[in-house]
Symmetry: C2
Subunit: 181 residues, 2 copies
DNA sequence: CCATTTTAGTTTCGTTTGAAACTGTTGCAA
DNA sequence: TTGCAACAGTTTCAAACGAAACTAAAATGG
């Protein structure tokens, strides 16, 4: 099956007199497809562990990176989970409330708090990891071995490129307000 | 480069006495990777049209499906954009405020409102589509022709499977509360 | 040293979201 | 017909979010 490149020249099917502009079909538009897929997957998984353990995605991510028993600072967690520090801060305070995490002020640098999972959280980790991996397998079961390798490659390449484009400063001369029609 | 299947048996690197459970590295975990990638892409793109036209993602999606000049109901928009009806309802009311959309009560069924883009919105469509397609191309430029075809296939397969798993009723006997650990 | 800047993390504020309740309309059935 | 279930869309309310302001503790450097 060829990729069916979207036609750049066909006008929208309506007979309106609009200029002959490239059509865009949401269902073939990569950002849309990624968004829908990621949403479906995350949502399904989140419901699984919300139901079972009462934790949210940010909390799960923190458990995931600390699950080895390591200790690290909030900033380091933020980096490793790709969440921003506000999100991490909030998740941590929830986890303190539910006794999932332990915070001790750093000795040498009292700005950095050292965070460690409690045994309760480690127990959750032990249960949740197999669940998560099982779900991941169920999804990737839709693919052949080759395709899984392809997926790995593609996601890496796309992420690298997306990061690069995100870092690029916004094209100048684009403002919303003074759009004098 | 082989896909480097995650080791199922190696214990976490820490020397703690935890049971020997499968490790999970977030950076190799599909739901996480999808979520981060989709987020990066959507965010970058959203900033682009937020800056240029002052519209949000839901609004952009509505413009995208109505861009051909067609008329449809809110429910149909919801289906086609994979947004839920609340989101659609809110986006529409914003678009009514900014004169991007036109709503007329259906004649035969007064529950269904017929929605059409205004010329102002069609003008935005004409400008935004090339921007969106350009961005998409910039991202997919990271891939070879073959890889683009692969991506198309993979996303379709994964979405189909994810939908299937999402529809499946939650596994019974999983409750958060009575975790008498 | 003291003043300034940088870093780590938290708080605040306004917005966005999602689930559930609600309003109005139509279709169906006694 | 009226009475009730199903449907289309909106509103409400509480939780979640992001940006920016803020606090506190190091690092820098005159």
């Amino acid at each position: 099956m060829p990729p069916a490149r979207r036609s750049r020249t066909a006008s929208p099917s309506s007979a309106s007199g609009q200029t002959d502009l490239p059509a865009l079909h949401l269902t073939r538009f990569l950002p849309y497809r990624l968004s829908v897929l990621a949403n479906t997957v995350s949502h399904t998984l989140a419901k699984l562990y919300e139901k079972r353990f009462g934790i949210t995605i940010p909390e799960w991510r923190i458990i995931a990176v600390l699950g080895g028993g390591e200790t690290m600072s909030a900033g380091e967690i933020a980096q490793r989970t790709a969440m921003d520090k506000v999100q991490v801060s909030r998740a941590i305070s929830r986890m303190l409330d539910s006794a999932l995490i332990l915070r001790e002020s750093g000795d040498t640098d009292r700005r950095k708090a050292l965070l460690t999972l409690t045994p309760k959280a480690l127990a959750i980790y032990a249960e949740i990891v197999p669940m998560a991996l099982t779900y991941e397998e169920e999804v990737t079961d839709a693919l052949s071995i080759d395709e899984r390798a392809q997926l790995d490659t593609l996601l890496s390449k796309l992420q690298a490129r997306a990061d690069q484009l995100a870092a690029r400063p916004a094209p100048a001369g684009a403002q919303a307000e003074p759009a004098g029609e």
